[in-house]
Each structure stands twice: as structure tokens, then as C-alpha cells.
Amino acid sequence: MQRENNNESSLSRRNLLKRCGTGLAALGLAGILHDDRMLHASTTAPDEALNPLLAKPPHFRGKAKRVIHLFMNGGPSHVDTFDYKPELQKRDGQKLPFTLKTERKTGVALASPFKFKQYGESGIHVSELFHHTAQHIDDIAVVNSMHADVPNHEPSLLLMNCGESRLVRPSVGSWITYGLGTENQNLPGYIALCPGGYPIKDTQNWQSAFLPGVFQGTHVDTKHKSIEKLIEHVTNAQLTRQQQRQQLNTLNRLNQIHREQAGTDPVLEARIQSYELAFRMQMEATDVFDVSQEPQHVLDAYGKGVNARQLLIARRLVERGVRYVQVWHGHGQPWDNHDDLEVNHRRLAGECDQGIGALLSDLKQRGLLDETLVIWGGEFGRTPVVELPKAGSNAGKINGRDHNHHGFTVWMAGGGVKGGQTYGATDEFGFKATENPVHVHDLHATMLQLLGFNHKKLTYRYAGRDFRLTDVHGNVIHDLIDS
């Protein structure tokens, strides 16, 4: 599609159109150009990618226009949340007929301490941990057959976020903002909300790698409430808005004088525009993070705590046209419960379940859910068997679960997803994806499909090669898509 710095081909679009005249349409090739999205490339200056964040249409019409990725970092246990395993309950404390290698030594079967119940018309089982979320089960497609490559956090986080576990590659959000731009130029197009600091692997989780830096996620530490701590340089300590407006008016006048001498140049124009955008961003960004503007019943619906607040912020962001919002449960790896799984999972789900349920209701009420793809999951799941004590790695309480990349659960809702279904399955204990396994690459391919991209064609030329999110992998899971 676009090559290394597409902006500098010797045949720019403008040049081409001039050369070919009506030839394009006559030959019916405009469709191919459209597929390749070059017609949506910068239409003004051939030399500079002016504002690469301007909204662009995808390859074809996709139902999803934006994404909220709820990242339960650390690895939530699927058999305690969305993968109901009656057989596991029966075998509590028994040795399973097989165990698979995970990061650490594991022992006998550990039944889920949580109660499962059927919800909705679809009657899908969900554990008590997510009973608020479960109210929306008929809008949710639960993918029970996810699998990844290794049972370690670092590579699995990178795989889930960047489609490659070791090397430096752009994140999903970067690819999507690269492909679609963003709808509100007054806000960053790709925002990663993570309270208290960074998750494991830090900013690599939202890196743009070889894609231009503007496609990198903007990290917002939602632990803070004051705007200047949320977005860099968004407020001015010494001048009021009005005083700044005066400054910008003068700036515009001076730039006008300069233009008379320098000639009209789209690059100069873009710079002028970007000051106006920045000025508006100050207001809009301040506004969007201020959840106190919400009516009390909305605040009550989301609940208390930082997760509730950031879920509400996520809704406010997508509502204003932000393309990709990733909501991390917390810094580090909160869901990594090698010990005391019952206590910790209950606490963690307690922090976010009500908010997630409220978010889904809220999106639906506002008519946003149809166009907003909501994804929930971690970098992997957890073992159905108990983790055994190992000095230095856990507290040895023998009441937690190890990492499990062989099988885990991710759910999706909205944005063209066919809800009210479970897709794929793990074995009877929940150890390994056995029926219709979905690799992380397949999940990515499906996400891109929902957004209107052929995942094989959303590419970027770098170092002599056309890279793509799914590398040489990925199959779209059509059953997950509402046709």
C-alpha cells in the first residue's frame, strides 16, 4: 500500500492525476487506487505528510469505527470468568489426566471458587465476578479458544499489542490510527489509559515502532485528576485562554505577512492550522477528562474508583472521535494472581465489572456501540491447575494459578461483532484451546476486518519490506462478524 515514506514517490498523486487525465476512470482503475487508499493520501503537498492523522476511509466499509480495548494486564483466569468448566469443578484436588508446560510448576486441579450462572437469551455461563458485564452477554461474543505462543508476560504482551513477541513492531492502535487517522483533531487519536504508571514492557505496548511517531499511543496516567498531569503541555501556567487567543491572532497576522513574501505553501499552511488545532485541543482535552461534568446517575452507574473513572473517560473519548482507546487495569500486572486468586480476582473484578457493564449500557444508549468495538482480555489466561510453591516466584500459598497461553478467553462486543455466542472451546478442564483455536494473529485479523481492512493489505514499507500487523499470519474469524 504505502511505501517507506510514501510522501516522496516521484509520482505523487497530484502528478499522476495530471499525467493520466481521465485515463484512470476510463480504465476502471480508480477502484484499485481506492482499495489501496492512495486516493486518500495527502491531497495538498506531495512532499510532506501534513497531518497524517486526518480521518481516512478504510479498504471497505467496516462496521467498527473505533476501538476500546479493556486490557486486564497480568492475565485474568478464564476458568474463573468466562469459560465455564463443570468438569473442573468435579475434579477439584485431583490430578488431571494431563498437564501442559507453563511458566512454573503446577499441581492438581483447582476448581473455580466462583459461582457461574447463565445469562441472557443466549444462556451463556458467566461467573459472579462479572455479573454486571454479563447483563450484556447477548451483545458479547466470547472467544474461549484464544491461544498465544509462550507463558511469559513480556512476549505475550507484545504479541497481543504489537503482533510480534520479540522484535520492535508497531502496536495495534498505531496500525489502526495509521490506517484510519482520527476523527477529532483536537484530541490525540490513540490513547492508552493506565493508572499509576506503566504496565510491564512500558511504552512498548503502545509503540509506533517504524511507523511515524504521531501514531504512537499517548499515555495518560488516570490516577491523576488534574489535566496538566494527564496530557503534556495542554495547559499554560502563565497565560489565560484569552491572552493566548490574542497571541495566536498576532501569530496569524505575522504568518500572513510571511506568506505574502514566501508564497502559498501547504506546509506553511499546515503549520498555521496546527496552532489553531492545538488551541482547541487545550479546551477539548481539558473537557474530555473532566468526568465531573457527567450527571450523577451516570457517575453512579460506573461506580467508584479509578477504573470506573477511566472507563467513563474512555466513553467520553470515543464519543468525541478518538480512534483507539486502551484501558489498562493498572500499572504492573494486577491480574497476575499466582497466589490468593480468589481474593485478588474478586477484588480486581470488583474494581472494573460495574464500570464495564455501565460502559456497554452507556455506549448502547448513545448509539455508539454499533460502531465501537469493545475488546476485553489479558495477554493470556491462567491454568486450571494450582500453581506449586517456588521460592522467589510466589508466596507458596498453593491457592493461585500459573500463566496459561495454551488456552484463554477474550470477548468482543459492538462494532459489528455477532453477540450472544461463544466461539471455540478449551478442553473439558480449560487448559488448552481445542475447538476452533484462535491465535492472537487471528484476533488481530478479525479486528482489522471489523474496521474495514484487509489485514494483508494494511502495510507499511520499511527497510525494504512491506510490514503488516499480522506479519505472514492471521485468519479472519468470520463467525464472529455479524453479517
Binding site: N15, L16, P212, G213, L239, T250, L254, L268, Y275, A278
Partner: protein, 951 residues
Amino acid sequence: MSLVHRPNDFAIMIRYYTRLLLTWITTFILACGSADARTEDETFSSRQLDFFENRIRPLLIQHCLECHGPAKSENGLRLDSRSAILQGGDSGPAAIAGMPQDSMLIQSISHAGDYDMPPNKKLEDQEISALSQWIAMSLPWPAKRPELKELTPIEKIHNHQTQHWAFQPVTSPAIPEVKQPARSALDRLVIANLETKKLSLSPRADRRTLIRRATFDLTGLPPTFEQVEKFTGDTSPDAYEKLIDRLLASPAYGERWARHWLDIARYADTSGYTLDNKDNRYPFAFSYRDYVIDSLNNDLPYNDFIREQLAADYLDIPEDKKSLAALGFISVGRKYLARPDTIDDQVDVVTRGLMGLTVSCARCHDHKYDAIPTQDYYSLYGIFNNNEVPKELPLLGTPQQRTQFQDYFNSLKKRKEQAQALRNKHYDLRLKHIRSNFSDYIAHVIAPGQGDLIASQPFTKLTKSEVQSNIVKQWRSFFSKNRNEPTVVKPTLALLAIPDDQFAWKAKLQIEEWEKSPDRQALAKKYLKRLIAQPPQTKIELANIIGQLFSETISAWAEAGSPQPRTGNFPLPDDGLAQFVFAKKSPANFPLNELDNYLDPDAKTAIQNIDKEIEKLNNHPPDQLARAMVIQDKSNLTQTRVMIRGNQHRRGDVAPRQFVAVLSPLENGEIKREPFKNKSGRLELADKIASPDNPLTARVFVNRVWMHHFSKPLVNTPSDFGIRCSPPVQSALLDYLASEFMKNNWSIKHLHKTIMLSDTYCQTSKDRLPCTGIDPENTLLWKMNRRRLEFESLRDSMLAVSGQLDSRMHGKPEKLFGAVQSRRKTIYGEIDRQNLPGIYRVFDLPNPDQSAAKRTRTTVPQQSLFMINSPFVAAQANHLMKNVSKNNEIPLDQIKQLYRILFQRDPTLLEIEVGSQYINSAQLSHKPENLSPLASYAQVLLCTNEFEFID
């Protein structure tokens, strides 16, 4: 094959490297009506034939020939020669040259005609499109090889070596005659191209523009008003050349251009992600950055620059050892958690960075386009995999300079000694504890989880809290690993297997049996004797028996003057017990390096604390102390094998350490190259790269330099000169620069002068008709390109005009922003690759994890937010205000001063009016906490396009 371009073949000159471009080309050909059918013997351009070889030939072989080839010709159709395709089969011609839409071949593969081909699977869209392009081009087919056969690797290399422009030797092109007056050979090459389109160079820019352009270009800073005045007033004919010489001699030149090189070298001050929160700092990365700055300032010839960066340790090393810092080129990359990924990055930076060859593409499979087999990748991999980082990096500076760090080294040494002493102390304590309490610990092995029972035994000495769980663990593991040890463990286990309620009598029976049995020698004599003497009544008593035996063994050794035998030499007559007690992994005799496993938490913390202090000292040496981030060859070189599909556990053929085939001479169908002999071969590799015979190195470098002067390269993919890279429109210019560069001893400063003294460089940057219509991209160089300041220049310029720039060179990096605002040049800002400051990405600094060919240039509001809101810009505006209000109280004079400082000119009346109006109205709303009206006006000027763009 001819490489000369027919002027009307402009579009075809563009390489076919995307499907899109291919579409364009077809469109162009069709739109221009060049769809004439060619005859069989018509010659095709090398680019067309390349396209056939790379895109079409494999396609036909893979999908068509099985049924339409020599073996079978279904429907009378063969697709294995051009004439056969044109002639067609039973249903008529398969293709009509130049008319893909009317060709049956295209209709069939598009499933739009009578046939759906291939029958089992539809081709990919881009494959169909490629075949369409090919037919549109009139089915290019090499005359000499009418039959379809897959190329052998050697044939592919031969093809590329003979046909690809970038692999041809660099020769100085003929300098054409031109109509316009031309200053230099460079200009004549440019003008000749322009004249083919009836275009000309733009007029020379005015003096002020020229000095601003040249000063930003070479130093990244604006000139001062006085410098501009002096230059515009200098009427001597060589005034401009003197200016360039002065700028090239300025230390700021090296700082500016080093930053360009650091993009290629993927420079950063940290190693990336580390496990367990280990400090990821590269405390001495800066010595590489400083080396690059100094090399450029000293005009180190580029070929030497390459040699030092790959192999300084093989060359003469000066007394101050500074050349060793050059090796940072290899070592400042990201340290991945897996070594093969780190080595891959090193192969990549060397091949793409220095030669524009994407060798890393061949890591898992042969290169998809270039003739680079996987084996070549592993040949280079083997060179870098045979390197290691030495334990102590060499200290830079002369011996005298190094003496100033004596205090630091002393304190480091002291800490290390303290750490050692602490370790020894705890080691002795642990060992003593273990050896004094055998019975206690063995009781815990025998009766796990029965602490109360053990504590109540008369023979135990430790209270429950004194028992160290990690020592219990070590004993347990020792016993369980030695299950079959015959002298103590095996018999003990046999006794322990007896049910508790039958223990006393069954144990006695068992012991008596042992006494009688012929193989009783295996059982330790002393142990047996003791068991016979006092047959144990309960299992726990065994612990006391064994414990006593162990104690006695230890005492016997101590008396013999050998308290801690480590060597396994047993001078005393021995019945096997001593061997066991003093075995290598025995807790009674554990080695010092396993101390951590035996320490109690407090001691562990104490030792870790002092270790941390040592690490901190290592990572925070005195400011002036520099070490070179060297690599060295391993003492035992290992052979490298191909990793099949990049998998390090699947090894293929040996890959000798040697140069890539496609750049080695081919004689009589054989590649002439010798495996490297000198250690890992780094110097030999460097010599191959930095050779005038290497067709890529000089071309790649001059293209990079050109890019920074004109903000646009001559070759659009500066780090990929492989076969998918089309010859540049200015290919003669590129070759001229490359050959001049090498003729002048690879002098980079000479190259700058060649470019900057040309009329081409000195043109105005204004648009003009009809050029904008004919060549809107300015590919033909009819004007200078207007440029925006990069982040470094922007920040440095603001510091320069505010008078705040701290122009100290070299040294440790500083954080640019944060609580303390650094006033040093941006090149000295710390680059943490793991958490690159957002502002760097916002302003398009490339990702420091991968060698960056060129920077993207974006215009986004976050950049403007920085300009209007950052404390940094406000601070510079404040300083500007203070500087101009010191001696002037009249706003008009202050405005004039600001214009002179920022733009090196006087303001117009209109500009003065706009300025005064602003200051006056700002005065009205001014409050004490606000930026002063004059400062906020200065900030506006910093934000103007005139400040951020260079004409």
C-alpha cells in the same frame, strides 16, 4: 543491458515496487497510447526484464506450466515462451501485447471469461495485476532465454550484478554541455536534466537567505545579526566560500551532522527492557556519540570512519584510545532478551546503514527480491555472534587524564572489597551454623512439617525460629538428589520406609541383616556400627545418629588440619562418609557462589545493598570519565550454521564468515570470495564495505548527505538500494558525487563544499511557473526546497537566540525537560529507548531501535502545544525579553532588537505595527502572574513560520 533512460519513458523509470505503482505505470502507458504490439526480437529495458524475472516468471512456473508447458499443453496452449503466448492455443491468442483487458489470459485468471484459471485456486489480486502490467508492457521476455526455467542462485546473482544500476561500478559520468551558464560540473548535470524539460535553475538566493540556509544546514543554529551583516557586506568574490569554510570549521558542525548519523546508528543511552528492573543504562554510550562528533569535525575520511566503527580494535589505537569508542556503532543498539535478535540488529545496522542492502530480510528465508541467500545472512551473523562485551570497558583518555579518577576507582575498589568481605563473613557463619547443627537439620529432612516434635527432641539445639528454612530446603534437595548414595542415604531411606508402628523391631531386623550381608561394605562402617550399638526406636533418632556421624567426620578433618576440603582430595583413610559430607553439592561444603541459597533474608539484603551501591557507582561514574563501548572477538571462535527459518534450534549448513555473494566478483559462474581469516573477520568486512570497488557504500552515503542538504534524497529509499529501488532521475549526479567523494579521499567536508558551492544549492526556494506544473516534486531540482527545522535545530535555535545555549561539548547525556531544564544542545539529551520521551516522538525523532533511513515529517497539534505551553519555550521567551529590554525602554526598539536576534533582519513598518498593537493590548490584560507582554510577544515570534522554516 542498457541503463540509459529514454526521456519519454519517465514513468517506467520508476521501480515497480508496489502494486499501486504498477497500476500507475500501466495507466500511464495506456493513457499515452504506447500500447503498440512489439515484435518478438524487440529489446526490453532492464527494468522491464527485472519485472519479468521477479514477478512474472515465478508466477508462470508456479501456477501455469504444469498444464501449459513442455509436459502438457492443455487446449493446445503453452505459456512457456513469449511467442507461444502470443500465438495462443485452440481458443486463440492468450495475450494481445499491450492490451491486457482484451487478453484471454487476463480474462481467464480474473474469472471473467470462458475459463476460470488456474482451475483449483484463483490468483491473488496483485498477481493478476502484475500479469496485466506485464501484458501492458508488451510481455517483456529476455531474448536469450526463451525457455522458462527457474534461475539458479548464481544466475540470479549474475543478473543482478549485470543489470541492477546500484551494483554497477561507480564511474564519473560525462559532464554534459548545457546552454545555461553553470558554475560547476554538478550544476551542469542538473541543468542538462532540466533542459530536457526546457526548464532552468532558479536565480541565486539573496545573501541573507544564503547565510541563514548554510548556517542552519551546517550547524543547526541561526547566524547572528552581525554575521549576516558582515556577510552581506563582504564584496570579495570568495565571500561565500569563506562562509562555508568558517561553518565547516565550527565545532557545531560536528554536533549537527553527528545527529544525522546517530539516526542511522539507532543511538540510545539505554539498552531497552530488562528483567527484574535491572538498571538499563548504557553509562558510556555517549563516548560513541562524542566519537562521531569529533570524527566529523576532524573530517575523518569516511572509509576510515567505517573501518573504525566496525573494527577499531584491529587498528592502531591512539594513546587516548578514543578510536575504540567507534565500536559503539555495533553495541549501542537495543539488547533484546534473545541474543539472536541483538545480533540481527547488528547485521541490519551494518548492511542497511552502510550499504543500503536489506540483508536482514534473509534471516528466515532467502531474500524475496535481492540475491541474498540465507547463508549470506548467517555469514555476517557469524561475525557478530563471535563478539562479546568485555567485563571491563576500556577507559578513555591519556594516562594523565585517567589519574583524576583515582578517588572514584578507590571507592569502587573499597566497595568491592567490602562486598567480598561481607560475603566471606556470611559464608563462614553459614558454614559454621550448618556444621554445628547437623542433627537438627537432618531431623527436618527426616520428619518434614514436624517442627514441634523435632524441637522437643533432647538432641536438637535450635529453637523453631532459629531453623533456617532455606537450609532445610538445601538439605532436602541434597538428600533427594542422592537417593542412591550407598553409605548413608540409601540405607536411611530403607529404614524410613518402615511403617512407624513397626519401626523399632523391623529396623533392628534390617540392621542385623545388613551386618550379615556380604555387600555391607557399601554402607558406611561407622554408621552401621552406630546403628548396631544403639538401634533406633523411632525414626527421628536416625537424625541424631547421622548428625553425630557428620559432626565427627567434620571434626576429624579439622583435626587433620584440613577444615574445608574443597578439592575432593581426601587425605584421611575414609569409609565413604567423608566423601558424602564433603561432596560438591553438600550443604556442609557448599561453594561460595551458592551463598545466596543459604542466606537468611537480612544478610541477603545487606549483601544486595552493597551490590547495588557498586552497580550505582559503575553506572554513575564521574562526569569526565569515559569508557569505550567496545566489543571484542571471543577467544574461541565458533562456526555458525544457518538457522532454518530463523529458528536457532534448527541448524542447517555451515555459513563461513565471509562477504555477501552479490557484492563479490563472479568469474566463470563461480563466486570469488575467501572466508575471512583474521579473527571474527570484522576488519575484513569493514575493508569490503569501505572499498572503492564496493558499488554501494559511496553512493549510499552521498545520497544521505544530499538528503540533509536538500531535505530530499536523490534515491528515495536511502537504506534500500536493492533491486526494487529504481535508478534515480539524477543518477548521473549521484554517481558524480560518489566518484568525486572517493577521489577526494572520502572527505565528507569536501563533499559538503562540492554541494554547497553549486548554483543548484544556492537557488531561491520560491515556486515558479512553469516548473511547478511540469515538475511539482522538484525532482529535477529547479529550486531549493524549503525546510522546517527538525526538533534538534528548533530547540537549539531557541536556546541560541535567547542567549541561554550552553555550548559545552561532549559528555554525559542530560534529561532535556523536567524539573531542571537542560540548556545544552539537544544532541546531548538523554535518549531512553525504553521510554522515549513523548516529545521526541511528537517531533518525529526516529525510533532508536532500528536504523532510520530518514525521518518522517509530520505537522501535528502536539508540536504546537509544545510551542505555546511548554515551560521551556516560555523560559526562552522570558530570556529574550530580558535581553532586549536591558538597554531599551522603547517598545519599538525592543521589537527591532527581537527581529534582529530571531530573523537577522529589521522588521517592516507593518510588522512593527502588529507588534506594538499586541504589546499594548497585552498590557491591558496583564496580571503579575502572566508572562510579561514583551515576553509573550517574543514567544509569538518563536512560533512564527519564519522562525521554524528555512528558505
